[in-house]
């Protein structure tokens, strides 16, 4: 320590205080550390035994202490252990705990004279133990002092006088890998392996200007817009000019124009240059030869520069992590031998393959972190996103490409190798072989969906999913739903309008217009409610898009699914339906016009009986049949009783009404069924574009969406059904009246009703999201929802007292989750991230809400 008045600690570390009872540890900790940073063994004794001095409680107290310390370290918090820690055993446990969480253990010894401690203990009533205790502790401490460094502490600070203890200041130093205050933009460059010429070409392609020394050798690269290059390591070996690459990158990092992490090849180079025994294979020989030609000075500079490289970098507020072989989330911003080893060599299974190379564990498939991880190390033919990670090693030295990724733009920039510089031991995988490999990012973990969860949404804050709802959704998702990669969205439930105050109706457009006007919406669109089932269409332009974007198997080009994620049809019929929609979209020029290879559409599939024939027959028709059996017979009997002079007139009248209701009910459900044969008789009515590549479309107004729908209708009028609509200016009474009569005409002609939506689509009120739509259902349609006799005044009076609060809240939460899924999908986020809100919608749908709403 250069200045004994200041003690320097890593920002994240485990501080182990060492000192005998009475040495002033607690007072010291209180003075220099935060309230929660210090975990004291006395305090833990108190928690488990109500007595801070109960030595019998020590094992439990330390178990608790270790638990608290572990939890804090896992979360990356500096933690101080306030216990005597004079015994080697006790310290060893804490060192192990620090290692387990990959933080550095640091020792601070309060080595005051025994007499001082003894004096302090005498003045404290609760420390009535004898002097022999302090003496023993002091002996143990004295014996410990020499070996602390060897015990694994990465810093040992010894404070020897009470004055020093009372005055020393703590300086917290950020970790070497902590570049969170560097916000880019960056160009992250994959494994170069001595391909100096390709590197120059790539840097120029990226817009850098290369600076050269007097011999014309590149020594720096400067981007006019201040972008900086970040190298993922493996600059050297195998290729034609490792020294040239080093000279450029060393110059560039020294000038502050970029950063570099070490690769395993740099690591090995340092050991070789240190004169250590290493196998001179995998292209190291070439590098050593090339360096020898450069002379000793350069070689020493190279060695020291490589030695100084930090195994991984955490950049841009933790949003970007760069490490040569990647890094799992638990290791981000941590420091330990195994973190460095992971960063250099990646995760391996411990096995070797038939070429003698270590078998790599596909850690990226398990990756669930929020930080983007960019790395190299494993040559792949095409850079691919796997759970927000990307490998940028495209085997330039083996004749592939040199690859860079622009951050934050996520744009891949490549230059081809000028030649095959080095023959790979293992055949370099072709694109076709690579495509056959399963997509690691398509694997979902149970932990991605199970248990009580909170989903962070961009539009509605945190949405909570309860464990029992997630459990129900798991079964439905596993047993009935299509593969999650085809299920990037589930439609939210929709609230009906507030209950009408009119005497003979449950729902009326007035309430919808009024509600939106109150939320500050000026224009709404009324869309007819189709008499079918909600369907979501995901249609890809061709098999290639389906395979690359959605990981489709051959022959699959999309999906057509219900509100709980079931496929409407079997595989063949699904593809037939998709072919028709694709052809309609092509003829409307939608793929080109929207600059996308796929369309995700919100739609309705008619007739309802396509999906719900069983329900219609076993529930709806059956009720009608039961009524047909009972009511006419009752009318006959009542007629006979009337003839006998019995007073059954009111009963007869009611029974007549009920028979009329039953007939109206039959007419209502019958409109939902007709015979279909394959796709003949089936229609799809799209009414909204949910998302296209790179874009969720909730900010486009509904006339834009309906315009697209119209173009699809024009492309295949037989299969694609138009959606009638009517725009209402809420400021105009006349327009509202016209909207009402539009609804009346629609429902009088047997229509189900309409959905009223803010014309502008996504709208927020000062408080929160505005409901994306309110359904206003027709009087006759509601017979099959409420009851055939619901219109009887006595029934209607009571049914009007319906609570809509839960339904509305649910509709908003599901809407926000749906938007979240769409935005994650459009942004190309990994499958587990898209699946999370989709699964949450399904889970929320299992909340108990009156199904009639």
């Amino acid at each position: 320590m250069t200045d004994d008045r200041v003690l320097t600690l890593p920002e994240v570390c485990l501080v182990v205080l060492i000192g005998i009872s009475g040495s002033g540890k607690s007072t010291f900790a209180e003075r220099v550390f935060g309230e929660f940073e210090t975990v004291s063994s006395d305090y833990c004794r108190g928690i488990v035994a109500d007595d801070v001095n109960d030595q019998a409680a020590t094992p439990d107290a330390f178990a608790l202490l270790h638990h608290i310390v572990g939890a804090r370290l896992r979360r990356g918090r500096l933690t101080v252990v306030d216990a005597t820690n004079v015994q080697r055993d006790a310290r060893a446990q804490l060192v192990a705990l620090a290692r387990e969480h990959d933080v550095l253990p640091v020792a601070i010894v309060l080595n005051v004279p025994e007499s001082v401690a003894r004096e302090r203990n005498r003045t404290r009533a609760d420390r009535d133990f004898g002097d022999h205790v302090t003496r023993r502790q002091h002996d143990q401490l004295r014996r410990s002092l020499r070996g602390l460094q060897r015990e694994g502490f990465r810093g040992v600070h010894i404070l020897t006088t009470p004055e020093q203890i009372d005055t020393v200041a703590i300086h917290r130093e950020r970790l070497l890998n902590d570049y969170r205050d560097e916000h880019g933009p960056f160009d992250v460059i994959g494994d170069v392996h001595g391909c100096r010429s390709e590197l120059e070409t790539l840097l120029v392609r990226l817009g850098y200007e290369i600076t050269r020394d007097e011999s014309g050798r590149p020594v720096d690269a400067v981007h006019p817009a201040g972008r900086r290059a970040v190298f993922v390591g493996d600059l050297v070996d195998r290729g034609p000019d490792s020294p040239g690459v080093l000279r450029l990158v060393m110059g560039l990092t020294a000038a502050g124009h970029g950063f570099c992490v070490p690769g395993n090849h740099e690591n090995k180079l340092v050991r070789a240059l240190d004169g250590r025994q290493v196998q001179v294979s995998h292209g190291l020989a070439e590098t050593l030869e090339q360096l020898a030609a450069e002379g000793d000075d350069f070689t020493v500079t190279v060695r020291e520069w490589c030695r100084g490289l930090v195994s991984h970098l955490v950049l841009d507020d933790g949003r970007l992590v760069v490490a040569h072989a990647g890094l799992k989330e638990a290791y981000h911003g941590r420091a330990s031998g195994r973190v460095r080893s992971f960063a250099l060599y990646g995760d391996t299974t411990g096995e070797t393959d038939e070429f003698g190379l270590p078998v790599r564990y596909p850690w990226a498939g398990d990756y669930r972190g929020r930080a983007m991880v960019l790395y190299g190390h494993t040559p792949t033919p095409v850079p691919e996103w796997v759970n927000n990670t990307m490998c940028l090693d495209t085997g330039c030295v083996f004749g592939g490409h040199l690859t860079a990724l622009r951050y934050p733009e996520k744009e891949v920039v490549q230059v081809p190798a000028e030649q095959v510089w080095y023959e790979s031991v293992k055949p370099f995988p072709t694109v076709a072989e690579d495509a056959r490999r399963a997509r690691a990012g398509d694997e979902l973990d149970l932990a991605d969906v199970m248990g009580a969860r909170v989903v962070q949404t961009g539009h509605h804050g945190r949405v909570t999913v309860r464990a029992e709802n997630a459990a129900g959704a798991l079964e439905v998702m596993s047993r009935f739903a299509i593969h999650p990669r085809w299920l990037p969205y589930l439609p939210p439930t929709m609230s009906p309008v507030a209950t009408s105050t009119r005497p003979d109706l449950l729902e009326h457009p007035d309430e919808a217009f009024g509600a939106y006007a109150a939320d500050g919406v000026t224009e709404v669109v009324c869309e007819e409610k189709h008499m079918g089932s909600r369907g979501v269409v995901l249609v890809c332009r061709d098999e290639a898009v389906a395979a690359t974007r959605f990981g489709a198997s051959p022959g699959e080009t999309g999906a057509l699914y219900t509100r709980t994620g079931r496929s409407f049809f079997g595989p063949d019929l699904t593809e037939q339906a998709l072919a028709r929609l694709r052809a309609a979209a092509e003829s409307a020029g939608l793929f080109d016009g929207l600059d996308t290879g796929w369309l995700l559409l919100d739609a309705e599939v008619v007739p309802w009986s396509v999906k719900a024939e069983g329900l219609l027959r076993e529930q709806y028709a059956a009720v009608g049949a039961a009524a047909r059996g009972a009511l006419p017979a009752a009318l006959d009997i009542l007629a006979a009783a009337t003839e006998r002079g019995l007073d059954v007139a009111p009963l007869l009248q009611r029974t007549r009404e009920r028979w009329a209701d039953a007939e109206a009910y039959g007419a209502a459900y019958r409109r939902y069924c007709w015979e279909v044969d394959g796709l003949t008789g089936v229609q799809v009515a799209p009414f909204q574009v949910l998302a296209t590549e790179g874009r969720a479309s909730q900010d486009k107004d509904h006339l834009w969406h309906l315009g697209i729908a119209d173009r699809l209708v024009a492309g295949d009028p037989e299969f694609v059904r138009p959606t009638r609509r009517f725009v209402v200016d809420l400021a105009s009474e006349a327009a509202r009246a016209a909207g009402t009569s539009w609804w009346e005409d629609l429902t009088a002609a047997g229509g189900e009703g309409m959905v009223v939506k803010p014309l502008a689509n996504l709208v927020r009120s000062p408080k929160q999201l505005v409901q994306p739509g309110l359904k206003v259902r027709g009087r006759e349609y509601l017979r099959i929802i409420y009851d055939p006799d619901y219109t009887m005044p006595d029934n209607l009076d009571r049914l009007c007292q319906r609570g809509l609060g839960h339904k509305r809240s649910l509709a908003l939460r599901e809407y926000a989750l749906g938007l979240e899924a769409l935005e994650r999908l459009a942004a190309g986020e990994p499958l587990w991230r898209v699946h999370e809100p989709v699964f949450a919608v399904l889970a929320l749908e299992s909340e108990p809400v009156d199904p009639r709403l």
Binding site: D353, E468, A471, I482, Y620, R670, Y786, S846
Partner: protein, 483 residues
């Protein structure tokens, strides 16, 4: 709901005495959810007809539900209860004709045991088991049964007949017996749609059926249907989701005579026992100690595993939380001794999501599971089990569809269970096993379960996969797509 009872006995209007209802009056009774009206559309000394007309209050019916929980499916609201003569009619009958049912007639006690020619009509009776079932219920009691079928919807002829009949019973009977028969058998016919307000059904059954039920050839079925109407956890999240997609919930108590329940045991018991024995024998031969029963259902195999101490760690996993609850109940988990309990773990899991809790097993058993997974999801199942969990061995059993021709009563082309997404021939099963084995580095051995039919093979087929440890180093093989 309408019921009429006509007596053509001499002094037919004596019916009024027996029923305690005057032939010239119209009487109305309040019910829990609605009203019952009693009147006589005809009343002459030669022929007297009493009518019981029940008006159900649909709003009250729903609001008055037990537990006050909201119903989850529209079927609870749009319901045949106001029309069909099922349990609500029986309930009204019990309320309105209570004395007659009890055989009390203080003014004319001699009429109670008088056998009279009766003609009973219930205009709309649920008959889910078909006409035959109705006849088998009433004929043994001395009724001549005339059940007229009706169309499900006359305007949609392709839908055929409804599961309701217009029922007429003719016979010489005491009024009391007739009422008792209706009181018990109408709810039995209603089956799953049967609905009671009170909870003392056993007493009611004993009281109304004591004189005739013991000798009835269908007594077991009647008792089962009368008492076993409890739907488990109506507020179950799953049931709500199924209803949400307009699907009809699987009705477990239709069409079966047994104690309901084990969905997985789709065939008679001996085959299920045989299958478990075969799986256990393979597990022992594999020297497996840590075993995962993936898709354990209510836990029949778990019970066998627990009975053998060589299985030191037993994991039952299922995608259905309900099945796990059933397993916990059947295995009496709450009362299991610690030493036993420590060997068993029940996990809510899924074959379509990776679950590290399933890692490290000696063997994973997929007994009658794969056929419940859509073919398109099988590659994911293979990835989860063979690629991710990677046990030393995997045992798969599944029906052999070729054997289906040997099952009488199984329609040609029909599967053995309504939830089966496919059933494989022996060749198809072998193809799948070989391709999964090759993709993930497992050797495959196929074995029949139980008796082998020389022509169509065994009823159940089984495959035992063992990880090719020698080839384990070929980690890349684990990345194959598997299906």
């Amino acid at each position: 709901m309408l019921l009429t009872m006509t007596s053509t006995a001499s002094s037919a209007t004596d019916l009024g005495f027996v029923l305690h209802k005057h032939p010239d009056r119209v009487q109305t009774f309040d019910l829990a959810a609605g009203r019952a009206h009693v009147f006589y559309p005809e009343a002459t000394p030669e022929r007297c007809t009493v009518a019981l007309l029940v008006e159900t209050d649909p709003v009250a019916l729903v609001r008055g539900k037990q537990g006050g929980r909201p119903a989850f499916s529209l079927g609870e609201y749009v319901n045949d209860r106001p029309y069909a003569g099922g349990s609500h009619l029986a309930q009204a009958l019990g309320r309105v004709f209570r004395s007659a049912l009890a055989g009390s007639c203080p003014h004319r006690p001699e009429l109670v045991d008088r056998v009279v020619p009766l003609d009973i009509r219930v205009a709309s009776v649920p008959a889910p088991g078909g006409l035959d079932r109705v006849v088998r219920l009433f004929a043994p009691l001395g009724w001549s049964v005339d059940a007229t079928p009706m169309a499900l919807d006359p305007e949609v002829p392709r839908w055929g007949e409804a599961a309701y009949v217009d029922l007429t019973l003719t016979g010489a009977m005491t009024v009391r017996a007739a009422l008792q028969h209706l009181y018990v058998l109408l709810p039995v016919l209603a089956g799953s749609k049967h609905y009671w307000v009170s909870s003392d059904e056993v007493d009611k059954l004993l009281r109304a059926g004591s004189e005739w039920l013991p000798a009835h050839p269908e007594r077991e079925w009647i008792t089962h249907r009368y008492l076993a109407r409890k739907r488990e956890s109506v507020d179950d999240a799953l049931a709500r989701l199924i209803a949400l997609d307009d699907a009809v919930s699987e009705d477990e108590d239709e069409g079966g005579g047994g104690g309901g329940g084990e969905q997985r045991e789709d065939r008679p018991v001996p085959l299920a026992v045989c299958r478990r024995a075969a799986v256990l024998a393979e597990l022992r031969a594999l020297d497996a100690h840590h075993v995962v029963d993936l898709g354990c259902g209510p836990g029949a195999l778990l019970r066998d595993l627990l009975a053998d101490a060589s299985f030191t760690r037993i994991v039952g996993a299922d995608v259905s939380a309900g099945a796990l609850d059933a397993a916990a109940r059947r295995l009496r988990l709450a009362r299991m001794p610690d030493s036993q309990r420590a060997r068993l773990e029940l996990l809510h899991s899924s074959v379509t999501y990776r679950d590290p809790r399933l890692d490290g097993a000696d063997a994973i058993v997929l007994m009658e599971v794969v056929e419940h997974v859509d073919p398109e999801r099988l590659p994911t199942l293979a990835r989860t089990v063979f690629g991710s969990a990677r046990p030393r061995a995997v045992i798969v059993t599944t029906p052999n569809v070729e054997f289906n021709v040997r099952y009488e009563g199984l329609a040609p082309g029909a599967f053995r269970h309504p939830d089966h997404r496919f059933e494989w021939t022996r060749a198809e099963f072998e193809d799948w096993c070989q391709s999964v084995g090759a993709a993930y580095g497992y050797a495959v051995r196929l074995a029949p379960v139980g008796e082998v039919d020389p022509e169509v093979g065994p009823s159940t087929q089984m495959a035992v996969f063992t990880r090719a440890d020698s080839a384990l180093a070929q980690g890349s093989e684990a990345e194959g797509s598997g299906g």
